[in-house]
Every structure is written in C-alpha cells, then in structure tokens.
Amino acid sequence: MRRQAIILAVFVLGALGVCPLTASEQVANEAQHGWWAFQPLSDPSPPNVANDGRAPTEIDRFVLAKLELHGLSPAPPADRRVWLRRAKFALVGLPPTPGEMDAFLRDDQPDAYERVIDLWLSSPHFGEHWGRHWLDVVRYTDYLSPRADEAPEEGDVELFEAFRYRDWVVSAFNRDMPFNDFIIHQIAGDQLSAGGEGDVYAEGLIATTLLSIGVWDNGDADKEKIVSDIVDDQINVVGQAFLGLTLACARCHDHKFDPISIEDYYGLAGIFYSTRVLKSLGPVGLHTVAMRVPLVPQEYVQKRESQLARLAELEKLLKPSTEEATKTESTSNGKSEVSSSTPLPEQQRKQLEQEREQLQNDLLPAPSTALAVQDGATPGGLFPEIGDVPVHFAGRYDQLGPKIPRRLPTFFCGTDRAPIANGSGRMELAQWIASQGNPLTPRVIVNRVWQQLFSQGLVRTPNNFGLLGEKPSHPELLDWLARRFIERGWSLKQLIRIIMLSSAYQQASLAGAAADDHHDSYRLDPENRWLARFPSRRLHAEELRDSVLSVAGRLDSQLGGKATINLHQPRRSLYIQTVRSDRRNFSTLFDAADPGQCVGQRNVTTIAPQALFMLNDAFVIENAQHTAAKLAAEIPTDDSARIARAYVILFGRQPTQSEASIGRELLAAAAQRDPSTAWGEYIHVLLCSNEFCQLD
C-alpha cells in the first residue's frame, strides 16, 4: 500500500517535471554490504615485521609492515629539539619556551618524552588547541556578523551565547570527557539529569548548542522552508561529524551511493522536527530567532518573573505621587489604578516604597541562557507537535508523501527496532551513535585524531566514510586503535598519548642530512601514505598568530569567555571572533575553516595576501617590536648573544654563522635608519621567515 502510494507520487511528480525519486525501499547492494567502514570493528594483532628493532610499539608494527611491503624503511628519529617543538604545537598549539627546551635537552631519563607529553596533555591550553579542530568539524561560529561586545536586543538573531558551547568543548577536552559521553551531550544533553530533582544540568543544555548554531537562513517570508533547513542542517552535522556519513544527501532522494534511503532520512527528520530550536516562526518579513534556555531551575525563573511583575505593579502604584509631571499621561490611558487627584495616603505610600526597595535588593539576577534545544516542535510550524513526519518529495515541505515513523537508519540498525514512541528520539539516536557496536563512530574519531597528528588521516576523507570516501591506508591499524580507544574508556588523551609515543611519530621529517640519505622515500611515496618520514607542516592560522604573541611574551593565558573582534588583543586566536558574514579576516586569510561548513580538514594555500599581512600588518610589526624589547631587557649589550637568544625563542635552536651574519648586516642597516626600531625590524624579518611558520 505504502509502496503504491509512493509509486503514484513518483508518477505524478514526474509528470510535473519534479525530480523523481529512485526506488523507495532501497535494497542495499553488494558494494554497500561489503564496504569496509560498515563492517564491525575487527581486532587485528599487530603484524610480524622483518626488522622489529625498528618497531618498538604496536602501532609501529602496523606501520612498518606497510613500509616493508612497499620497499620503504622508516626515517631516523627526529632531533630532540625538533621533536619538542613538534610535540608542543601538536598538544597545545604553541612553541616551546627556551626554559622548556633546556629542561628537555638536559633530561636524560628514558621517560623524558612521556613526561613531556603528559605535562602538555594536562595543560588547560590542550583543550583550546584540540577543541578548535572539533569546532571546525561542527561549523562553529561565534557570531553571524562581526559584533562588538554588546547586549542582545529582543529579536536579535545573533548567536550571543554560542561561546558557552565553545568553552564547553574546551573544557570537555581538558577533562578528557569520554568521547561517547561527549557525543551524547551534544545530541541529547538536554535530556541528561543533573542528579538532584529540579536541578538544571547546564553542561548538558549548553552542549546541544551544536544543533542550534546551524547554517540556516533566519530570513523572511517562507518560514516553513527555514524549519526544514534547520532539520537538514542538524542531520548533516550529526552525520558528518560523528558518523562520517553524508546523511543529508538523502533529503531529496535515496542516497546515490550509501545505504541511506529517503525514508531513513525522514525517519531521522521526525526526530529533529520534534526538537525545538526556535522561539517561534517569527513574523513574516522579520527574522526568525533561536530559543534561549535559562541555565537555572524553573523555580528560579518563576520567582524572578513574579518579582518583576510585582515591581512593575509597584512602579505603577507609586508613579503618580513621585512623578507629578506624568500625571496627565497616567490618567489619560485610563488604566491608572490610582487617580492623580487622590494621592496615596502617606503611610501606604511609604509602605509600598519600602516594599519596592526591598524587592529591588532581593531581585534575582537575570539568569544566564544557552542556545540549547528542547524536545518539542516549532510552535505554529507545519509539524507543531512531537511526532513523525512525511517524506518531503524533492526535499520540499509543500510536496509531502507518506509518514515515516521516527527511527534510525535501517541498514545499520535493522528493521525490527521499535519505532520511537516518546519524545523526540534524540536520546535513542545519540545512544546508537555512541554505542560500542557502531562501526563508524570510533573509526571516525580515531581517524580525526590521527589526522591532527600526522596532517593526513589514515582515511583522507575524514567526514565521509561512505562509498565515495577514500579507503584507509592502514585498515588494521585503524581498527586496532579504535579497539584500544574503546577499551580505554573512549579517552582521547590516551589515544593521543599512544600515537605520539610511537616511533612513527618520533621520526624525522627529513631535513638536513637525513634528507640526502632518505630521498628514495620521496620518489617511492610522494604523498607519504606509508609514513617513511614525518610529514612536515605549516602552522595553522591560530598557531601562527598565537606564536607571534607567544614569542613576544604577550600571550594572554586566560581561558574562555566571549570572542573579541579585536585582532590586536593578545588573547589566543580561539577567542578572536569567527563570523559567517564577513570573511575578510586573519584566520580566513590563513586557511582557517569556513564556519559555514563541516570542515574535516583545512586547505593549505600560499597566496600573496598572506605575505602582505606578514609584511605590512600592524599586528605583526607591533609584536616584532615587543619581542625586540623583551630581548633587549634579557640581553642588554651583546649583539651576537641577543641574535642567538632570538633564534632560541623563535625557532628553538642556535643560529648558524651565516644566519648570524645576515642578522648583523640587517641590524646595521636598520640602525642607520633608526636605532630605536632596528631590532624590531630584524625580528620582523624572522617572523616572516619560512622557519617560523613551518614544523619539521
């Protein structure tokens, strides 16, 4: 019956020239059934390798096996200075200080590497650095348009509370919140309990901001389209971020490549249509504003409301006698309870004034709010109640087909699961995504972590593990890591730790002499799929700016809070506003993620405007002068020693003789122009250098 209805609908729509559906009940094909990412996690043993002296850890045996297969061998270990610089950027996104460098070079204990890793894993700046990657993936933005710090007004569409989500992500990484909990918080945190009855679980509410800061038009006339776009955005971000699936492709038709039917999509859509994001549809022609949820118990909100109501009442009662000038106004509106001609008896007025003063003192402060979601539908919308929704042919809400029960995708979850009966069903969805048995979730996050450490993932399409994604270079290693990850309580810190302790991570990237000995690896594996060398990389936008501040000794270590619009504020770049409407900013110029996209991996581009920024922007020039001033204070007289110190601070090493002499020449020329800025001019050149923004 249902199938007939769909076929009929397809026929009718086809006649109307609307994009027809493909077969409705898609039967997964062989390729889909056999696709690697959809198979249960295997539990491979680390393979045997011919030269196991070069594979001290289990990870290395997986890597070495592939290298041997391709006739390659690993690079020698990186210089300790190089490794320390690499490791600190990897963990906290900052260059090591000269003190840290000295201490590490002097530490000859066998666990020196391990202790350094643990030190920075426990730094509060770890979460700032790793959280940023997660924010890329979930299309986080601080604001829609550039904003000075100002109070929200009624009807303002700005995402004033988005920063709470960013701070929560940072804190979750810092606490090493188990990743499965991290998932559940973001999809269904509003349904987690704080423990005590009536307590508000603020963290859970804030985490669901993931669902409300989506990329949707908050525009004008067609409000229903907005609601359906919000739903689609949520399906899209949940699919790509957690599952590595492009679920949103099934909005208009069955997924062309992956086993996701249009019915699967609308089974999920019912869940999100039953999730309230908007206060209301909003008046036609005006903006649609997201709902705010107070981060305090209901009684608090009610008490404050009754306080405000009583205050308003008192104001009204007291107005005529305190403000003679408004007499006529208050009587002419006809509502004034006390006529101006009969002033309150003195005693009563005093009493009321006392009450008002007391109440003003007792008034509960306005509660903090979050851009959280709640179970419930959009009031006044096409689907105003929690419930199932019909297929939208061609993704259009005005071309509806049969209703689909709220449910999870059948290829992955089977058809015998009971449909969702109570509530939106987000908790069921979250629990399935975060379950041990889900073949995608652990692989996807483990791959993201690997990618952040090695610049490319074992799977190089981090947001797409479907049939159009790339296959993994080391499938067994990926599964082995995913298993260990789950065993160790979905701990990201443990995962990062074991990867960084591998000799694959500790090998050289082939600079200097090592490059000459090892050049075969470039010829045989130009893309470095098999990791016969460590992949060198450019600093990310945030790392570059933070480094400029850090070497100047000016980086503000304060965590969290609202993002600033001012690039010159010495806060970490995480707290410089990202906005969707204006991309003429520092971070975009240096390839930061587009906050309108789920960005699994950033581009790396080299363009002249980046060079113009480094050469001419006041931010760089000022900080060059600050760095010079710091150096002068540390080493007041000896120029050669000061040059050497600059190299240690900026690059973590001593200058060569020729580098030092290039420096002295430039300093001499600069001093002829203006001795007071000469050192700043020199430092400026060093900040522009390739070495400053490159990691070996």
Partner: protein
C-alpha cells in the same frame, strides 16, 4: 584573491577525481610543481570551449528588482489594476500580496530591436540593441537569503563556492598583481561573505570584497610607504629562507612561500594604480555619473569594474548597496512609486556609461555583463503600494561577451506571474555564463568530502538561443 594556490597535495587530490581530471589537466598545462609555486598565476587558458567572454561583470541589484515596472510590460495587469489575480497562486504559507497592481510607469520601444524599456531606465534604454533581455527567469526560493545564495552559488541553504569562485578556479587570473575575483559593495548585502565564498574551494578563489574604494586591498602599503627598506628586508629574508630551504630539498610549499613574498612586493607597486579612479578623464567620470551625488556611488563601482576587467581581472561583481536603501535596496515591499525610481536613477546612467565605455574600448565583445537580482517582484500589490518577492518569472539582462543583443528571450504569462515560454532557471543561467567563458558546467568539478561538486549540481542547460 586568485593567485594560483594549488599545492602538491591538492593536485594529487584532484588528480584522483575522475571527470574533474580532464578539466584540471587542461587547466594546468603546467607541471604540478609549477602550479605549486603558488605565487605563479594560472595561465589564462580556455577549458572546454573557445571562450566568448574573457571577463564577467555581474551587476547585482539586491532585494529583487521589479521586472513588471522595468523590462516586462503587462498591459493586462494595467487593465485589471485592482482586480484579483485570475489564476491560482502557488500555495506559499505566508504569501500576502493582494490584487493586481499595474505599473505606474510607461514603456517605450527603443533601438532597431524595438525592445520595450520602462521610462525609469532612459540611459540603459539607449543600449537596448546590445542587451539580451531574459524575461523568463525562474528561481526556487522566495526568501532573500536562500534566493541570493542560489543566484550566487547555485545552492539555497548551504555554503557552496560562488559563481565567481568557480570561474576563477576554472580559468585563473590574467593579472598576477590583482585579485582574480573582486566584489565591490559599499555596504555588505544581507548574507555577506557566503555570496562570494570559495566555500570548500581553496580560499584563494574567494571574492575579494572591496568596501571602501580608497582602501581596496588590505595591507597594500608598506610601513611608512618605504619600499626601498622593505626591499632590503626582503633580501635578507630571502637569504634566510634559501638557507632553510637548502636543508629541505623536497618541500615545494616552502619555495612557493618565498615566491609569494616577491609577488606581494610587486602588488604593492602595481595594484594601487588599478584602483586609481582619478586617473580617468573628466569626460569619462561624467559618463559614469561621478559628477552627480545620485549616481556617484554606483558610478564609481562601475568605473572601477571596467578598470579591473581591462587589467585582466576575471570576475567582478557589483552590489548596489551604497544608497540609503542599504543592503536590500531593491526590496520594494512598499513605497515603490518613489523607491524604484530612486534606485533606477542610481544605477541607470552608471550602467549605461559602463556599456558605452566597454564598447568604445572594444572590451564589450570579450566582457559579459549580467544584470539582475535574486528574484523579481509580484505583479500583485503588497500593502498599499509595494510588491512582494517573486521567483516564478522575472527578468535579467545580459550584454556583450557572445550574447545576442537586441533580443528578448522567454516570456511570462499575461499577468506576469509565471514564466511560460523558454524558462531559464538560475542553474541554466549559470551553465550559460560558464559556457560563454569557455567552461562546460558539467566538467568543472571539485571533489570535497568524498563527493564531486559542480556549480550546477545535477542541473543546468546552456541557453544556446541567447548566444550569437
């Protein structure tokens, strides 16, 4: 800005992507390592067809200009002014226009073609024999944001690369001291950057937004303007970078970065000249209306557009956001009897000046000019004297760059509601613009997140009837 940013990794990514490879192989015509020298411009090259247009200027009227008052006269609506629309309107949840609203303005026939143009556009009317007036445009979205996104990126809801980004990605830039894709908007239109975003294409293909014509590109001036000293610093920098590079012989990204500093240095010397409108003759400034406060702002935008395409900039988009009407200046929900003439006055002479100037310099043949907004306006009345949003049948015009001049394409019904003849969807317009620039819209592909993307998604037909 568009300075050939493909690095080695991206080249390899692209090379694995099937159909896109063809485009890329032809696009490059150079080895990956040369392309990786990101400071090198993409060599100007035709991709799939001989190009009819070398550059494109898109004159964008944000808010949606009223076709029935400008290019699509409807005597039936005038006759039935005040009566209900006699056909069924689409069931939009919140449509709120009422009776038919005849245009308050007269139309006259112009030129040899005799195409009718409203008296609101007397200057443009003189160029009507160069215009191809498409009266049957259709779009899918009735909201500004969605419709403007679709007009600029092909997609209504999500971030996708813009038309200009795709074109520069496909064709590169002919001037390595200027951005390849420039957006000139005195105020940001509603959606801002997503309209000229490169989205998942590398950031180099993003439109460079110029808001203040006096400060066109950031950081273009060396500290204190002292280029000699900057040259000395750059020489020292180069020595240090060469020493660093010598120890890293296989890293072409480092080489590219060295070259990018040299290009930046050249840009500082060459780019300011391109933006210097004072270099134009007084006669030419007058031609664009720079001497009249009403036309000055858009006139400056148009004049700069010409200077840029003349110097090889590939794609220039002008947003008419400089008037008091602000970001959606053509969104005449009310007050159309005064609001529309105001906007027409603002752009009419500048656009006519641009067409005349391009023509007299022989540039019109190789420059495609496109005029329009995200949709049109209803033939029915909203409120007392306004018109609503109307994506179902509206007008755009094209000129130059291989387009058939003095031609009307398509038609709406007698009441100006539905496009009924030779409909041209936004995807078709995009396919046609790409075609005129020598690109097959089905072959300009970029792989992102494991999927192939193109500007026209799975849609789009080239409208050959409007091409000479």
């Amino acid at each position: 800005m568009s300075f050939a940013p493909l690095n080695r990794r991206e080249m390899l990514q692209h090379a694995g992507c099937g159909v896109g490879m063809l485009a890329l192989a032809q696009l490059c015509g150079v080895t990956p390592s040369v392309r990786a020298g990101a400071a090198q411009p993409l060599s100007p090259t035709s991709l799939h067809f001989p190009p009819r247009a070398r550059s494109c200027i898109f004159l964008y009227m944000p808010g949606g200009p009223s076709q029935i008052d400008l290019f699509d006269p409807k005597p039936q609506v005038t006759k039935r002014h005040g009566q209900p629309l006699p056909i069924e309107k689409p069931k939009l949840m919140h449509s709120k226009t009422v009776d038919l609203f005849g245009s308050p303005w007269k139309f006259d026939r112009h030129g040899q073609s005799g195409i009718e143009v409203s008296r609101l556009l007397p200057h443009i009317a003189r160029h009507v024999d160069d215009l191809c007036v498409v009266r049957s445009m259709v779009a899918d979205n009735i909201n500004h944001t969605g419709a403007a996104l679709q007009m600029n990126t092909g997609e209504q809801a999500f971030s996708r690369p813009s038309l200009g980004s795709w074109v520069t990605y496909g064709l590169g830039s002919e001037n390595d001291s200027l951005p390849g894709y420039v957006v000139i908007a005195p105020n940001p239109p509603f959606q801002g950057a997503p309209l000229w975003s490169s989205s998942f294409l590398p950031a180099a293909y993003q439109g460079t937004w110029i808001q203040d014509l006096n400060q066109p590109v950031s950081n273009l001036r060396a500290p204190n303007g002292d280029l000699d000293w900057q040259r000395q610093k750059l020489d020292a920098l180069n020595q240090l970078n060469r020493e660093h590079l010598a120890k890293r012989p296989f890293n072409d990204e480092l080489e590219a970065r060295i070259a990018s500093f040299e290009l930046a240095f050249r840009m500082q010397m060459q780019a300011p000249e391109a933006f210097d409108l004072a270099a134009e003759s007084t006669a030419n400034q007058t031609l664009y209306g720079l001497d009249d406060p009403a036309t000055e702002v858009f006139g400056r935008q148009c004049l700069l557009a010409r200077r840029l395409v003349e110097r090889g900039v590939r794609f220039v988009q002008l947003y008419d956001t400089g008037s008091a009407g602000g970001p959606n200046s053509w969104d005449h929900h009310g007050g159309i009897p005064t609001g529309l003439p105001d906007r027409c006055r603002g752009v009419d002479q500048p656009i006519a000046g641009l067409l005349a100037d391009l023509k007299q310099r022989g540039l019109l043949e190789e420059t495609l000019v496109v005029w329009g907004g995200e949709f049109g306006r209803t033939p029915t009345r909203e409120g007392t004297d306004g018109r609503g949003h109307h994506p179902f049948g509206f007008t755009m015009f094209l000129a130059g760059g291989g387009v058939r001049g003095g031609h009307i394409h398509g038609a709406t019904d007698d009441f100006g509601w539905w496009a009924v003849e030779d409909k041209v969807h936004v995807h078709d317009l995009h396919a046609t613009i790409l075609y005129l620039m020598g690109i097959d819209h089905k072959q300009l592909i970029y792989r992102f997140g494991g999927r192939d993307y193109r500007l026209t998604d799975v849609h789009g037909n080239v409208v050959h009837e409007i091409i000479v």
